[in-house]
């Protein structure tokens, strides 16, 4: 390297290692010899405080002075060692005389000790992370999960109030903001929705074709794919994609706004973040989700078409079989579901973002849990709808 020679760090010569040893432990005062090169980049390491102190087990009221005549170069490793040494000696009732140290180190140690604000290093040990016994941990887990449910219901209530304010026309919201979100969650999602739903239709068609071929009824695959896409898969696939794309984005946006206190800034200005930040996002999703579902339906049916027409079924047959299988009610059931899915996805994303903690780690957690929560809610809601539609004979 360059012609660099500075007193506090530098090249290590292996012959010189850091030395701290007792010259005498019997005589009073005890003399600790400090010598050699003390270097944090050195490989020899720093002498152990514990092993030194073991040698003066009867160290009560001992006075310790230093002999630094053999000290060559040193950096903060020496001061760190001496600080640790001091703390341990004080804990054992011994007195350390810093006046016998070179003035530079004595000054650093004085600085470190004066600025300790009366708190000792050992005090921090008490601030242990919550661990404890099995029951303690179970209890902690129980309390925190109750807390998170409380938060979720609180947020749900706030969302409902915000929507109610919007309906009454009293919400402080900028609906022009919606257009941006509509673009982000709708238009920008088209390519991925096309791909996924096309492949879903294709997969469904292959599965159906394997069975139907045995009866020579391959053309019925058309109806099966059409019905499955329109009633179930279109909304579900679009929902899953938006969970991954949009719910996580919402959580990350709101979460980082939470970290940088932007949300507090809104709150203090008297602008409710629920109405200003959350509503436009959910509204954008609710607007775009049915359209995306419709688009996903068509892509899926097209995917089925590609498979089935390669198996002796004509385009015309596919068309008529699809039309025969699905009706307006099927379409509607898919679209109704998609609106509810949109609410759930938007809500999950915004909820996780708004309750985000204040670190970069927390933003990541918020995004992850938004996706997990969104997909979970989505599937649960889908199951509820399946039972409900069956109960009211809605097909």
């Amino acid at each position: 390297m360059s012609g660099f020679s500075h007193s506090i760090s530098g090249a290590v010569s292996s012959a010189n290692e850091a030395v701290a040893e007792w010259v005498s432990t019997e005589a009073r005062p005890c003399i600790l010899r400090i010598a050699g090169v003390w270097n944090i980049r050195g490989t020899s390491g720093i002498p152990r405080v514990e092993s030194l102190l073991r040698k003066i087990a009867d160290g009560k009221d001992a006075r310790i002075i230093f002999d630094c005549s053999g000290l060559a170069r040193h950096d903060s490793s020496l001061a760190a060692f001496l600080l640790e040494f001091h703390h341990c000696c004080v804990a054992r009732g011994a007195v350390v005389d810093f006046a016998t140290l070179p003035p530079l180190i004595a000054r650093l140690l004085a600085l470190a000790l004066v600025r300790s604000d009366g708190r000792s290093g050992s005090e921090s040990e008490e601030r242990a992370r919550p661990e404890g016994s099995f029951f303690q941990r179970m209890g902690g887990w129980g309390i925190s999960s109750v807390n998170s449910w409380t938060k979720a219901f609180d947020f749900l209530g706030q969302t409902v109030i915000a929507v109610w304010n919007l309906v009454r026309g009293r919400a402080r919201t900028r609906l022009s903001e919606c257009w941006l979100f509509i673009q982000a969650c709708g238009v920008d999602a088209l390519p991925i929705v096309s791909l996924i739903s096309f492949l879903t239709g294709l997969i469904l068609a292959y599965i159906g074709a394997v069975q139907m071929k045995q009866f020579g009824a391959t053309q019925y695959v058309a109806g099966m794919v059409g019905l499955a896409m329109v009633r179930e898969m279109g909304a579900l696939m679009a929902g899953v994609i938006l969970c991954g794309r949009t719910a996580t984005a919402y959580a990350a946006q709101l979460g980082s706004m939470q970290v940088s206190e932007e949300i507090s800034a809104f709150r203090v200005l008297g602008i409710p973040p629920m109405e200003y930040l959350v509503l436009p996002r959910i509204i954008a999703l609710v607007c775009m989700m049915p359209l995306l579902t419709l688009y996903a339906d068509l892509c899926g049916i097209f995917g089925g078409l590609v498979v089935v027409t390669s198996m002796d079924v004509t385009l015309e047959q596919y068309y008529t079989m699809t039309l025969r299988a699905i009706n307006m009610t099927n379409f509607l059931s898919g679209l109704i579901k998609s609106v509810f899915f949109a609410m759930l996805i938007g809500w999950a994303g915004c909820f996780r973002g708004m309750v985000c903690g204040k670190s970069s780690q927390a933003v990541g957690d918020a995004a992850t849990s938004a996706a997990v929560l969104g997909i979970t809610l989505l599937v649960i809601a889908d199951a509820v709808f399946a039972v409900l539609f069956d109960a009211i004979n809605f097909f």
């Binding site: 944090i40 903060s76 604000d117 005090e123």
Partner: protein, 260 residues
């Protein structure tokens, strides 16, 4: 004042030398014709009004940005156009305290200080923990080792950030707006701490600030960046500049006058 700064210096070779530096974002020239030296063991302040390019200059000095032209020498070795491995070796001799602290929020204070040590020294974990405790004690944060940055106050974040900047015993400490966002008393204590650390660690300190009280309290020499001419307005001892600078903008800045 400046004469005291050479006590540690083996030669009068500048610690950091900047030669004909031009800083630009694309076509937009921020600062040009910057030539100055930072002496060993001095407290060197880079000052100027908002938007004069103080922070941009600092980002160039610590290698976050490449100059449009000109060179930065560190201890005689060229820094601005060094290859990657040389740069990393030089960077390890710097310590930087960022304006907002820039502590890693997912790590505790002790872990924040320990991370550079863990990466760049062969020390065992126990020694690293001991060093981290010592560095935090130096800035008055002993007892706060296991706190996360989100759990402590702004002034403590600044001090913890200083402790992290000192982790590897740097030769040059770069401090970006150390007093910003602190109350006058805390800011003053931080200034004292910086001076004490400079004296006892033997490091060179480069501070970017626009706080007059802080400039007069700590600076051996100060560099004034002129937002109007986009280059150096003046360089010298702050008291001298305040009373005798030929540049009226420097005088009004240091006298806190809203003329011009």
């Amino acid at each position: 004042m400046a004469s005291t700064s050479s006590t540690f210096s083996p030669a009068d070779k500048p610690h950091v030398a900047v030669h004909a530096l031009k800083l630009a974002y694309g076509e937009n020239v921020i600062l040009r014709d910057l030539t100055f030296d930072i002496r060993r063991n001095e407290v060197f302040v880079i000052m100027g009004g908002s938007g004069c390019g103080k922070s941009t200059l600092l980002r160039h000095l610590i290698g976050l940005q490449q100059p449009a032209s000109g060179e930065i020498f560190f201890d005689g070795a060229i820094f601005s156009s060094a290859d990657a491995s040389e740069r990393t070796a030089l960077l390890r001799r710097f310590g930087v305290m960022y304006q907002s602290g820039a502590l890693w929020t997912s790590l505790t204070l002790a872990e924040n200080v320990a991370l550079p040590l863990r990466e760049y020294t062969p020390l065992p974990d126990k020694d690293i923990a001991m060093l981290a405790r010592y560095k935090l004690a130096l800035v008055g944060l002993s007892g706060y080792e296991d706190y996360y940055p989100s759990e402590i106050s702004g002034g403590m974040v600044k001090r913890a950030s200083l402790a992290r900047a000192m982790a590897l015993d740097p030769e040059v400490l770069f401090l970006d707006e150390p007093g910003a966002g602190l109350d006058p008393v805390t800011s003053r204590l931080l200034d004292d701490l910086i001076l004490q650390l400079r004296d006892s660690l033997g490091a060179t300190v480069v501070i970017v600030t626009h706080e007059l009280a802080s400039i007069f309290a700590v600076a051996d020499r100060a560099l004034f960046l002129d937002a109007t001419t986009r280059t150096i307005g003046a360089l010298g001892e702050p008291n001298e500049l305040r009373d005798h600078s030929e540049n009226p903008r420097v005088r009004s800045f240091l006298n806190r006058k809203a003329s011009l």
